[in-house]
Amino acid sequence: MRLLEYESKEILSKYQIPTPAATLISKGGPLDIKGPVMLKSQIPVGGRGKSGGILEASTNDDAKTHIEYLLSTPLKGYKATQILIEEKMQVKQEFFMAVTYDTVIKAPVAIFSREGGVDIETLAVREPGKVWQEPFSVRSKLPQYRAREIISETGVTGGHLLGLAAILSKLADIFLDYDATLAEINPLALIEDGRLVALDCHLEIDDDAAFRHKELVQLGEDQSRFEASRQVTEFERKAAEIDKIDHRGVAGRMIEFDGNMGLIIGGGGASLTAFDAVRAHGGAPANYCEIGGNPSVQKVAELTKLILSKPNVQKIAVIMNVVSNTRVDLVARGIIKGILEAGKKPSETVAVFRIPGAWEKEGFKILTQYGVTYCDRTVSIDAAARIAVENAN
């Protein structure tokens, strides 16, 4: 879950990280501009500055015009319902700092750069010496002396080193305390009077840890924070409820389409590949969805029933990459159970079943028992999609 900028900055303030003086305003709210300000659309996406979501104003009239524009103009699929009005800072230098999780070394990692306000991935490739990163332990956290070591590697010295290290250490505390997957301040500005101020902040909270942060869950469910250009359909809402049945795996990240081919496909790149392949072979998907991480049989069964409840869906294609973290037999059980509970025959409903991987022999036994033809890993995702489209026709 991505927090909005002002929500992230409220958390920064709790940890004594300075942010610009600010006011949050909704449509028709009173304005009292007394100098140059930045008007910032509160939407959950990055790159707002480049795409016109952040504007500058110096007078009430300017601000009023800009706010009306920002509140009425969709940006990257979202429309703001709130604008953050911030004092414009006189910036001398910008820095970048972030804490995220390295899934390879399985540890949080602190990242710092002397160049802020930039795309850090591009900078790290172009000038790797300007970006420094170090992993740290979740037990010992990131004490200030460690933060100083990281920052000094980029050539920062003197008084600013101490100030920057204090902020990076606190950012690491926020990352751990809030179960974040990303805590980023970009840019962190050194302003004319010598203070360090967080001009923008991006906090992303791990959805799987949401139960530990009830107040953030309530925020996430608040539909008035911003408007999404595309509203969640009843079908998608039901799929999300299925995913909440238990903690096991994912089965329910659904996007509804108007085709007739139901899809139960593996998460990540494989699901996009499968979806595109079905379309490329002339199929019309009824949905996009993701399953993975070993969802329970019940979740897969409920998801199957939901997809089959669409009046125009008679066939479903079950396609995943070679899986190691999802059991083929448990998915096969869920698919067949869902089809049977929907009052249909598995052999006539599954257009293709292509999930090779963990426990595939057991899975193939189940599919054989119910007359479902399946593909092993010698059949590519693209070929499986072609088979599905042919069987559906």
Binding site: V297, Q298, R333, K337, L340, K365, I366
Partner: protein, 72 residues
């Protein structure tokens, strides 16, 4: 009853034993529960059985039998 898995308990091998609650808790997908101080199978959970065999190891020898109905 499960569509794919059926779990049977031979209660004669469990009666009077002190560790029944521990054996019941060993299942990661809650296929067992206690009823009148005896273990019983939660039928609606049978199809979630991951065939981990922890119950077979935990319960007294021969007390648990797991049937794969799709192999019948």
């Amino acid at each position: 009853m499960g569509e794919f898995i059926k779990v049977e308990i031979d209660l004669s091998r469990c009666a009077g034993r002190k560790k029944i609650v521990e054996w019941v808790r060993v299942c990661p997908v809650n296929i067992f529960k206690m009823e009148d101080k005896l273990p019983v199978v939660v039928e609606e959970n049978e199809d979630e059985c991951t065939l981990c065999m922890l119950c077979v190891e935990a319960f007294p020898k021969g007390a648990i039998t797991i049937h794969k109905l799709y192999e019948a």
